[in-house]
Symmetry: C2
Subunit: 321 residues, 2 copies
């Protein structure tokens, strides 16, 4: 399934979201324009804005409201990536240089703040106070998830349960908001909103689990970032937690953390995970979330949007980057 | 003029703003609660929330709307300070340790994001879309001002004009929003809103100019931070720009920047400014903004709120920290 055709009935309308976001580059302050050009050039999968538009298809599909929401969601996501990359000191993202690799960390933090403000501004354009509040609550949840990730860095005693809670906040919450916000603006009935929220949560969980697997088994070229990057930052994700669980003694992760950033142990951990059945076991977790996501869709009417939402679940599991 | 009595008719109501902000410490995630305790413990002057309440006194003084706005403004301000302190690597703020001195920089960036979200959430509680948009636009303006400050760091060719533009974005914009937002919620007429915006802008400019003077001539104990801290970060403010202008050759600032962070030249620059009439000349600039702020008030009815707004102008000029 290619991204070009994945988004079915909302595929064309996503261009409007791109246009809305692209218009932000047109600022009167040259250094800021350059920074925005850099961070907005590396176009993502547009998965989250697609979810907002698709959710809107189950009610009154009003693009004048859904496009600002979708732009808001995508910008919020991009702004958190900008702050993430400062934090992780990442050099590349989606195969492009990160803002922090080109500009000062300090300036990049402010760039992220500027983008949050633009995202909030788009949310305000929906004119819907509930959607606006949902937006700010989601940013809270994401920040809390990120703080949790930082607080548990290098902590080998953390559990899979804590991991799931963390990715629920850090990732799935925005998928929920993308779906819920779209459904609210389209005035989808309560059952529909609940179904789309359930779909969004489970899709987001599956998405992040797959992301964390790809960080170990993916192709560096395709992913546009080095393998094992989470672990090298001290972030323990599902595959590494399973490796710790499986080899409590003499585990390279313990050595890696004891010595911090030692290339040798990082490579060893990555290899052990790649050669074990941990990726398969981790995929099972992703598949079970994916199944829940599909089931959540059952109460919705069978239309092209619902079929597309199903396709997206399949795509999220199959993707290689 | 003591802060205790400065805020006249809204003095008591400011406690409601404090309560609203204090309630945020009550989060279910312990590490976040600790971080919030730290950054919210160092209570500021509450100048900006006071302005919102005072502006509200020229119309329908609805505390159910004005308190969330005032809390939003104060939190937005505190969140930018949290990010500022990460950027400046500052150890103390208002005499308390900064968040970044206690927690990782990385966690502190996310703490700032969390606080922005809480601020946006308070703005949403006003239920007023125009106020919400004003809020997000102000965050954009502040971030732009901060980026400008970072971009012009160590640039001795910048002008006083550029400096004024920068502090207009970085500082005065939030004073404008505090006044404008309060006036909008109280449904003050158009002329009143314009007057309060003009007041807010000029007060904010005077405030920042005085801040920049105090960074050189202030008492470290009273200020709770070291003298010359802006200059040591490469930030050129009015007194240092005047010093550069006055001594184009053999200026310690040029040497300081050439050698970066050299204590000797920093001390020399601070001493030269202290012993010159540059503080007086800089105060004249602050006074001219203060005068404009007072004049902006003339179209407003003469009531206790207006008298308090005048008192605040005097306080901003006289303050020592």
């Amino acid at each position: 399934m290619k991204l070009d055709t994945l988004y079915g009935p909302v595929h064309q309308d996503l261009d409007l979201v791109d246009e809305a976001i692209d218009a932000l580059r047109d600022v009167d302050y040259q250094p800021l324009a350059e920074m925005l050009n850099l961070v907005l050039a590396a176009r993502g999968k547009r998965l989250r804005p697609a979810l907002s538009l698709l959710a809107g298809q189950f009610g009154q599909y009003r693009l004048d409201l859904l496009v600002p929401l979708a732009a808001s969601i995508e910008l919020l996501h991009t702004a958190t990536l900008v702050h993430d990359d400062v934090i992780d000191n990442a050099a590349t993202r989606r195969g492009h240089p990160t803002a922090n690799s080109v500009f000062h960390n300090t300036t990049t933090v402010m760039l992220g703040d500027y983008m949050f403000a633009q995202a909030a501004n788009f949310a305000a354009r929906t004119g819907n106070i509930d959607v606006i509040r949902l937006f700010s609550q989601t940013l809270m949840t994401i920040a809390k998830g990120e703080i949790g990730q930082d607080m548990t860095a290098y902590d080998t005693s953390q559990t899979v349960r804590q991991y799931l809670q963390r990715i629920g906040g850090k990732t799935a919450s925005l998928f929920v908001t993308a779906c819920q916000g779209g459904a609210m603006l389209a005035e989808v009935g309560e059952d529909g909103v609940e179904a789309l929220k359930g779909y969004g949560y489970n899709l987001g969980m599956a998405f992040q689990v797959v992301d964390d697997i790809l960080d170990f088994v993916g192709d560096e070229q395709e992913m546009g970032k080095p393998v094992g990057s989470d672990l090298s930052q001290g972030t323990l994700t599902l595959p590494s937690l399973l490796l710790l669980d499986r080899y409590p003694r003499n585990n390279p992760i313990g050595k890696l953390f004891a010595h911090r950033r030692r290339e040798e142990y990082l490579g060893q951990a990555v290899e052990m995970i790649r050669q074990s059945d941990i990726p398969r076991e981790s995929y099972q977790m992703a598949e079970s979330f994916a199944k829940e996501a599909e089931e959540a869709l059952m109460v919705l009417p069978d239309n092209p949007a619902r079929r597309t939402l199903r396709d997206i679940v399949a795509y999220v599991l199959e993707r290689r980057s």
